[in-house]
Every structure is written in C-alpha cells, then in structure tokens.
Symmetry: C2
C-alpha cells in the first residue's frame, strides 16, 4: 500500500529524495521511520517502465536505498548520473558493482556490524545443532522413535574442537568470541592478517580446513571467494569435518558439498544459505547430519529495526555532508 | 557378553569387588577401564534372583557402581550391610536415598562437574534453537515450504534477553558463562546464595520467572524441586517466555506445561528431559515453538570417557582410604 501522499503533493516538501528500486523487509516493517525524513521514490509502485521512471528522476536522485536484492550495476548507474550514494540494509554487497561505484565517485554504505551478533548467534546455534544433533534428535522424538527404537546416537562435544573461521570480519570476530567460551580453539583465514587478533592465521582455506574440525564461513561473496570451499577444501576437512555456512550460498561449490555429504566424505553441515535460494538440493533432505535453514541467520525483528536506523543514519550523514556511518571499504 | 573370567578364577585376584546392579552405557563403552582395576560383580548377568545374588556377596561388597537407573533405597541397603560407598556415573542423585545412606555411613559420589560443559552447551543450543527457530525452520525447508510458501517467520534475538537460571551449581555456572558472551543478562535462584557469584539472585522461582524472558532448569531433582515449575511459575513467565529443561523432567509439572504451550500461554520450550521417559506428550509433536530431545544433553563419547575416569578415581580413593574425588554433598 502507498504511503499517504500529503508531503508529495506539497510543493514545499523539503525532505531529500531517496530512490528505492524494490520493496525491502526493513522498509516494509518500519516505513514511517524513513518517510518522516525522506521522500521515498518507490520504483516498484510506479506503473511506468523502470527506465522511464528513472529517467524522470535521473537528475534529482542523489541517494539510493536498497537491500540484498537490489542489483547496482554499470547499466543502472548510467541511468542515474546524479547518484552519489548507495546504502543497503544488508551486510553483503556482492550485488553492487563496487569498482564502478568508485569510478563514478559514488559512496556505498552497508549495515556494518548491525547483523553481526544475530548472524554469529545463528552460526553457533548451527554448530551446536550439527555436533550435538539437536534437530535430528527432535525429529527422532517427534516420529516416536525414542519409545520404539530406544536411545538416539551420541553427538560430539564442542569443547576442544578446532574451529576455522573463514573471514575474520565483524561476524567472524563475534563467532570466535562466542566459541572460545565453549572451550573451542580458534584459527582463521582472512583477506588480510588482522594485527589486533591473536588467533593463528592460515594463508589458504585449504590449510585452515586441514587443521580444523569445523569451518565456519563468515566472509562476503565476491569473485575471489566464489566457491572458496571446493572439492579440495572439503577433502582437507575430512570424514568428521563440519561446514557451517552463514555467509552466501555460492561460497561453497554446492554440487560438490552435496556429493561429499551423501557419500560420507565429510561429517556434516549447517547451512543457512544456498546457491540458488530458495532452491535446496533434495538429496540433503534425507540426511540427519545436516541442518537446513531458510536464510534466516540475519533476521530478527530487533535486527530489522537496527538496520533501519543505520540506513537512516547513513542517509542523514550523506545529505548533511558528514562522513557515512558504516561505509563499505575494501580493507 | 561377559568379560574374560581369568582373574575371577584366580584365587589370588586382589582386585577389590565392585557391585553393579544394571549395565550402564559408561561401563558398556569402557569395560576394561573398570575390569583392569576392579572385580565387577554384574548382578544383571547372574541367573540367580537378585536377592540370592546379593545375599551371596552381602558381606564382601563394600562398593556399588551405578548410574541414573540404579535405585538405591532402604530396601536395597538392608541387603548390603557391608556397603560403605556408592558411586554413580551421572550427575543427578534423585534415584538414591541420600538420608538413608548418611544414616548407614555410606559415602556417595557422583560425577561432579564432568558433564557440566556438555549439558551447558546443550542448554545454550536449545535456547538458540527455540529463540531463532532452528529446527522448526529446518523442518520448513525439508518439507519444501521455502519454495512453495516463501519466507519463514522471524525468530528472536539472544542479545539483551533476561535469562533466569534455576540452580546455580556447576551446570548453571557454565550456562551463565556462555550466555553472557551472547549479551544476555543473567539472574538466578539457588538453594543458597553463592557469595562468589555476582548475578542478581531471587528467592523464588516465581519471582525469577517474572523478571526473565527465559528460565533454564539446571538443578537436581529432589522433594523440594519436584514440580518447581508449576502453573504459577509458567504464568509468571508469560506469553513470550521460554522454558529450557536439561535437568530432570519432574522439575516441571508436565501436564501444566503442555497445557500452557498448546494454549499459547507461554512462548516456547526446549526440553531434553520428560516426566516419564521415553514417553513424550503427543500434543507437543504438532508445535513449532518447542524443541524435543531424547535426554541427550549429557551424552557425548568424550563425556562418557570422562565419567568412567571419575567413577574409577572415586573407587580407587575409597579403596585406599583417601577422600572421594567428587562426593555428593548437600550444600
């Protein structure tokens, strides 16, 4: 449903224009947080074709508000010559052509660490679930097997497990902090060694996997990280190794992962993301050593509100010529 | 299958006799750890009726090795006049008549904190699962609903939740330690206020529940704690409140719990234990806000080995007149 049009009809509307190409859950949950400060141009509600809608606003739109479904590529940017800022209510920015934005002097902001805690909580939840077989044993109970078949097979202890974190950014740090208190030992691999972090660092994911009982994928998706978990990494992880993915589906060669899980070549997996969501490979449905979630790691009502507030703070900073709150950098 | 009988046939067998009434998983997994040090009298393998078997060994049996299924009551103790020590490979001792043991000068040892970490890990796993809906969303994906019905409902953030721990013993402390790092705030109720613990303490479970978003039952089962979570406590917890039980089923009035869950009077539950295991109330099978596990919180292969080692250490201490390693006390 459209917002009340009062401001829009008012020639004195001083709210800065912000373009949105698609509805996002953050905006849908908290529309008035945005509309009380900005005049939101909702491309998805226009009856005009997108290029005509954009052409109409091309010279006056300086800011774009998007989410993980908002593809910002060279083609779109060409239609928006006045654009100077993109802010997205998500953490990953693989949907944005960052190089082209940089070339055009367009600043990009994401959510920074707003979702990090929720994602880290979920990653730990998936790891406990896979190791201690929580959802598998819940299925066992619900099928009545506890009475008819007796004890459920044992799971594995968290304490002492060697956890390899792929990508030691805000999420990776939160995951490490949590798992340390369970008595896990932490190592990581990251684009750059972080001088402030004392965990052992490996230069490749394969080396990390060789020395880990479980790896947790906490990095962004880009050309360098696509299929960063391939056949070699999975085989380095080995028969008892576990993969947790709360990053993006395409970080893993999914076909290879399914083959390894079905063939018992790795120990288990906790997956919140998949290569072609909402498609999930059917072979996984029959397995008890996998936990399959529908891309929910980042989503709690609390985190949606936090993300609305951060996006708004970034837009306000931009329109008052202050530095962005959570700019995307390439460090 | 019986152990090799070599030692038993040897008149010079100096291993101290230890009576077992029932097979236990710890013994079944690591029999030789025990038999290399003790002559285990396996009542369950004897063809004699139990009272005859016990009568035969009544004067020579000083130590009994049991588990949570080994009922040690006045009736049994009368048949074992020479008994001076009971050690069990579990944490709970509700199956043992502690007062009668004390009266007869029989020392009792349990596992102390051997399982605490595993149980605490599981408690945290259940809490994350209930709040973030991990196993419910796994079911959703496996049924193909992500593709056919779209996004799964949101869960709730852990950070900021007020967690009430019922029983601040070894397990409660481990649970608190873990949840603090998730940003939860901790309060507790316990038989005695622990001077070394700085979390706020409440004098009743009901008051604790009134001030908590979730309560976690970490106490032992005894006459004082049976049905400690009753109708009043559940109603104090309220419509969004969560109960996690990794203690014993009878800590909760299960009938009342089922009624509250079915009627939406509390928010959810994560249950590893039930009043009449392996029976689980069928009404719970249809609910998405409960996680049901088959009494597995304490069980990993690593913890079974630890528990064998502790039981053996207690037996060795007893037979060499040293203090028990992990005596059951009433503090």
């Amino acid at each position: 449903m459209a917002e009340p049009q009062i401001h829009h009809l008012n020639g004195n509307d001083r709210r800065p224009k912000v373009l949105m190409l698609n509805q996002s859950p953050t905006f849908a949950l908290f529309p008035s947080l945005f509309t009380q400060k900005f005049r939101i141009l909702k491309a998805w509600e226009s009856e005009q074709p997108l290029d005509q809608f954009l052409a109409k606003h091309a010279r006056s739109v300086h800011a774009l508000l998007g989410d993980r479904h908002t593809v910002v590529n060279a083609e779109l940017l060409q239609l928006l010559p006045a654009l100077r800022m993109v802010t997205v209510t998500c953490t990953g920015v693989n949907q944005i052509d960052l190089a082209e934005c940089r070339r055009r002097g367009i600043a990009v902001a994401n959510l920074g660490g707003a979702y990090s805690e929720d994602v880290a909580d979920f990653a730990v939840g998936l790891l406990i679930d896979v190791l201690r077989r929580v959802s598998a044993s819940d299925r066992y109970v619900r099928k009545g097997f506890w009475r008819s078949k007796g004890d459920f097979p044992l799971g594995f202890k968290l304490g002492g497990k060697r956890i390899g974190i792929v990508g030691m950014g805000k999420i990776g740090i939160e995951v490490a902090k949590r798992l340390q208190v369970f008595g896990c030992s932490i190592a990581y691999t990251s684009r750059n060694k972080k001088p402030s972090i004392s965990y052992p660092v490996y230069s490749t994911v394969q080396e990390l996997a060789e020395s880990s009982d479980a790896i947790i994928l906490c990095c962004g998706l880009n050309d360098q990280t696509r299929h960063i978990v391939n056949k070699k990494v999975l085989s380095a992880l080995g028969k008892e190794g576990v993969v947790i993915n709360i990053g993006r589906g395409a970080l893993i060669d999914e076909k290879e992962l399914v083959r390894c899980l079905v063939g018992g070549e790795i120990g288990g997996a906790g997956l919140d993301v998949f290569e072609n969501e909402p498609y999930v490979p059917k072979e996984l449905f029959a397995l008890d050593n996998v936990v399959l979630c529908p891309h929910r790691a980042v989503h709690t009502p609390e985190s949606f509100q936090a993300s609305a507030e951060i996006a708004i703070a970034n837009l306000e900073a931009f329109f008052s010529n202050r530095p962005l709150i959570t700019p995307v950098t390439n460090d």
